[in-house]
Symmetry: C2
Subunit: 333 residues, 2 copies
């Protein structure tokens, strides 16, 4: 049995696709990226990825044996192996990514959405090790979520469990790109906090460095930097974001009763500025039996490589489900 078994983790985004070779312990041997070219068919991306992965493998000083491939992608369905109606990719209604990859690699291949990959990464390589029940929230352009239940990712009947971004905060609230109103991600995400700043600028009269920035130019990083300078509007925006996020995290606890909730993604990089008030508000909204029992933590996966590590973790988790004889490493490819 080879000791150098590795998997490929791939994170497909609308602009960039990152990939890396990851060992059993979550060590990223090497990582690279290529432009997704979102207007081209999925098969073209898979072919380009094959070339890039093999180029990466051949550049290594000692050869690695591949045992599986894990992929995180928007609107991916683990149960079907598909990516369905991805918002930023011109791939049509449904593409079977598992089948496309298996044309190049005779290995176990699994696909799941980005937030589920983050959750399985947290379970295998991050802060949720040894936990049986946890929730991972990704706060990027939108809000994604992955649920660990009984030590497994929760997929539900249709493969789409864990989509907290589109739970309702206020049925008369902000328009969401999904067509509904008041979805959580219109408040608690990198774009949500920008909208919150504009709501506060309209309602309040105090001066703020954010008053000079146009709607299209404002970023959550600018709000973070303003908050670090004690800008009152920026601080209020973090407080309002934390309150709404805390309220909905309390709802999530009432559903699955996790040991911990991990925040990851761009907005979570704000650290205690978001974590501390989110914890406080969540406690206020928690039903009594849950109080003081659920941790709210920053993701323990590294910011730059978390998505690739999550996808790799999916591959290892998949391999662990296969009977030993058929899970041997292979040099195919």
């Amino acid at each position: 049995m080879p000791t150098n078994k590795h998997v490929i983790g791939i994170d497909i985004g609308g602009t960039t696709t990152s990939f890396g070779i990851v060992d059993r312990h979550g060590v990223l041997i090497c990582q690279s990226a290529l432009p997704t070219l979102a207007d081209q068919p999925a098969a073209v991306l898979v072919s380009r990825l094959y070339d890039a992965i093999e180029k990466m493998r051949s550049s290594l000083s000692s050869p690695v044996t591949l045992s599986g491939i894990g992929i995180g992608a928007p609107n991916a369905n683990y149960l079907r192996g598909t990516v369905e109606n991805p918002p930023n990719l011109n791939w049509g209604t449904s593409v079977n990514l598992v089948e496309l990859f298996r044309q190049w690699y005779d290995l176990p291949v699994a696909v799941t959405n980005d937030a589920n990959a983050a959750a399985i990464g947290e379970l295998l390589f991050g802060g949720a090790k040894r936990m049986k029940h946890a929730i991972v929230i990704t706060l990027g352009t939108g809000l994604g979520s992955g649920f660990i239940v009984n030590g497994e990712l929760l997929y539900g009947a249709d493969g789409f469990a864990g989509e907290l971004g589109h739970t309702t905060v206020d049925p008369a609230g902000r328009e969401c790109a999904c067509g509904k109103r008041g979805c959580l991600e219109t408040y608690a995400s990198a774009t949500g906090i920008c909208r919150t700043v504009f709501e506060l600028l309209e309602q309040r009269c105090d001066s703020s460095s954010l008053r000079k920035i146009g709607f299209k130019n404002l970023t959550s990083k600018q709000i973070y930097e303003a908050a670090c300078e004690d800008d009152p509007v920026a601080l209020a925006a973090f407080d309002m974001t934390a309150r709404i996020l805390g309220m909905k995290l309390a709802d999530a606890v009432a559903h699955t009763s996790p040991e911990a909730i991990f925040l990851s993604g761009g907005l979570a990089a704000a650290g205690d500025l978001l974590l501390v008030p989110t914890r406080r508000y969540m406690e206020e909204f928690l039903f009594t039996p849950y109080r003081g029992k659920v941790q709210v933590l920053q993701s323990k996966l590294p910011e730059g490589s978390g998505a690739v590590l999550g996808a790799a973790a999916l591959a290892w988790h998949e391999i662990d489900k296969i009977p030993f004889d058929s899970a041997q490493g292979t040099d195919v490819g």
Copy 2:
């Protein structure tokens, strides 16, 4: 191996405790009840139940072999076997019901809360047979819920998963007995719809048969009967209840992606008056990938014996987890 294996299902309420002998197929052989006597210690109730169960067994024309005992009780914790701070029972902070019953019966004993018992009953004997993912909502004085995930009851890290009654509809909303505001059960429950009628009577000017009834005397049954007579306030109360319930059921779908949601309990007896608008509103609030895929159904368990059948189902489910040799029926007791 005896063919007449049976279990005892027990439903402990604040006023009445019901119990029955149930076979493997969910057939209730006989059922009885006794007053709970909520001011007395739990050990007294268990002793009285033993006497009543044995009296019932000895009255049967053919003897039954008991294989296990399942109990549904308020604030029961399956993982610990306890009932903790029950609101309507003078049992203190924590009573281990499993240990108390095992002083009388050398059998597998399991305890869970009423809504979880209803869910496991729906899974084994009701409409959720052959489903792997389902949610059961009990609409009584409060709102309880039980989640079936991967064919098992979801307990979470602390044994208290599935408490939708205290998720937040409106953080500035109605006072809840739990100390929070705007909890779902202050709107969607038998008492919640009564509060809704009074909100509507205050806001509207149209005549209604409900205007002559005092707050303490109004029941959900009266609202149902008025709605059947086309009373506009009663109809509006059902519509508002369905809208809020539908919104929060859509949230629940975004958490666990079930095949179906079952409504049970007193208010669910209103049938289509509640079911039809709840389905419509839930669809409106659902994130697109879930639309048209999740059924909202009335519980298939009989109204009068559903709680006892649910508790019995818990016993059978528990027995199924035990290796065959140790799960044999016994005549002990």
